[in-house]
Amino acid sequence: MAADLFTHVLRQGDRALVLSHRLAQWITHAPTLEEDVALANISLDLLGQARHLFTYAGELEGEGHDEDHFAYWRDASEFRNPLLVEQPNGDFAVTIARQVFHDQAAVLYWESMSDSGDTTIAALAVRARNETAFHLQHSAGWLIRLGDGTDESRRRAQAAVDAMWPFTSELLGADDEGALRADGLIGESIESTWQVAVADILLEAGLERPTSIEQRTGGLHGAHSEHLEPLLHEMQGLARAHPGATW
């Protein structure tokens, strides 16, 4: 079945929300104070993007659901984020490899959406693209320093790249959004540009680009890894224990 615009917007909102929560888990644990602030800021940007996307998803769906509904009142099988963003933080290198793959895709995605025939998404895309460019600058800078650092940082960075690589194909688009593309609602495929850009970053970092690792997919259709449920349990616990609570 072809995905509609609601599904597309929900996938993007879930991607941003789940990664936002993963990054928030670093707060008070990051290697330095500046990094703590940086990861918190990136998390906050992603949360802001998720809120706009969920609000718009609610309008497209037309059933009166607000942003809180999508964040707090759906179970894991109803989430449509790519598997990459739900992967555990691991060590700092894993978080950074995950972030580089994500940020490069997000920059290209938002760039491609600034020409969308849907004016709501196109307007969000311009600002999200500029915010995401700062994220990529930060994560790619770290991956290059880790890859080009000590033997230990290089070993860990390569292990992280290898561990996150199987989750990258889902970042580059869904197999059921062709009709949205034909209608001009979503942009051209970002896959080849992403491959070139990521290869450049890995080259500068002195890291090997994995080639023969099998890709894992399913998140965009609700088939998640075992890691999403504990994350949602933590994120949704308060809202579910106290429905309708406000500050």
């Binding site: 500046e34 602030v37 940086a38 918190a40 800021n41 990136i42 906050l44 940007d45 992603l46 949360l47 802001g48 993007q49 809120r51 706009h52 004016t119 709501t120 196109a122 307007a123 969000l124 311009v126 600002r127 999200a128 500029n130 915010e131 460019a133 700062f134 600058q137 930060h138």
Partner: protein, 154 residues
């Protein structure tokens, strides 16, 4: 309704108290119909947690002026740091925050050293693109040896 427009524009930004939302270029339109004042505002950074506070402050200011507020947030056309007024840029500078560079059409670039708002030197370094609020980056000036913040151009 110039009077009400000025009142709305003069609402302070909660995180940059020396700046108003008018300085930031957030107020798109004020339309009055009887007792109803319809205010259109554009949000700045997508993750800015001050957005809800701004809505509440605008509503309070409009009620004080004797109208019933209807505040709408408008995404398109998107806000940019280029919308900050010359007065707003001067206030940022006076508060020790380097105003944002023009965004232009190209990719975001942090390569050009930001002039130090304290001594004016361009011998400055970016220390982190992420600061105490979503809109600011951290720098240090090698001339006067002082750290400072800049408003990120988006």
């Amino acid at each position: 309704m110039t009077g009400l427009l000025d009142i709305v524009r003069s609402v302070d930004d909660p995180e940059l108290p020396h700046l108003t939302i008018g300085d930031l270029g957030m107020v798109r339109d004020v339309a009055v119909d009887g007792r109803i004042a319809r205010i259109r505002i554009t949000p700045t950074y997508t993750g800015c947690p001050a957005t809800e506070q701004i809505r509440a402050d605008v509503e309070a200011a409009v009620i004080d002026a004797g109208y019933e507020p209807v505040v709408e947030f408008e995404m398109a056309p998107p806000w940019s740091t280029d919308d900050i007024s010359p007065e707003g840029r001067a206030k940022l500078h006076a508060a020790g925050i380097a105003p944002p560079a023009p965004t232009g059409d190209g990719p975001v670039s942090l390569d050009l050293p930001v002039p130090c708002p304290q001594c004016g030197s361009r011998r400055t370094r970016l220390t982190s693109a992420f600061g105490a609020t979503a809109c600011k980056a951290l720098h240090v000036c090698d001339a006067c040896r002082q750290p400072f913040e800049s408003f990120k151009a988006i």
